[in-house]
Symmetry: C2
Subunit: 101 residues, 2 copies
């Protein structure tokens, strides 16, 4: 099976019963999913995007985590933020403006 070279996890605050009710979801994290998916295609990135249950970083939400890099990003609230993060992935860099220290 093909595996992505980059795996982008977007917190959607799912509870164990499936409800998406937490901070990241309330702040619109899932609204950005279509934009991220389109950008990945447009850029031809070998990346997969997966929404997740609460990643326990609610203070920093909306949260996005990139593996295998292990970069945790917070306050990802706009297409501009997504662009900066995807630019960083493509350039093997870190999007400092959104990095959770």
């Amino acid at each position: 099976m093909d595996k992505p070279s980059c795996h982008i996890f977007v917190c959607a605050s799912f509870r164990s019963d499936g409800d998406a009710k937490g901070v990241c979801h309330k702040k619109g994290s899932t609204d950005l999913l279509p934009y991220i998916e389109n950008e990945i295609l447009d850029r031809g990135m070998n990346a997969q995007i997966t929404s997740t249950g609460c990643m326990k970083a609610c203070d920093y939400g909306p949260v996005m985590v990139i593996y295998p890099q292990g970069h945790w990003y917070g306050k990802v609230e706009s297409e501009t933020a997504v662009d900066e993060i995807l630019d960083a992935i493509e350039n093997e860099a870190v999007a400092e403006n959104f990095l959770i220290q």
Copy 2:
């Protein structure tokens, strides 16, 4: 913020509307979450567990993905399977019996 040295993603087949209806969920992936959480505590592992939306590996479900290692495991249907995978993480090895090639 403390970040885990190992991040375990368990597919719970969430749809974008939050319903957990897909293959991994039907096969009981989320039933194992409490066991995995307890094992992580018992073993004193610096690991975080996160449930996810569909990871698009339904043929291999229930699916578990480990980062930063980038190991994709399938047919994770029992506590024995979980034990083998956690053993592998602790030993910096691969649980060959469940590895998705």
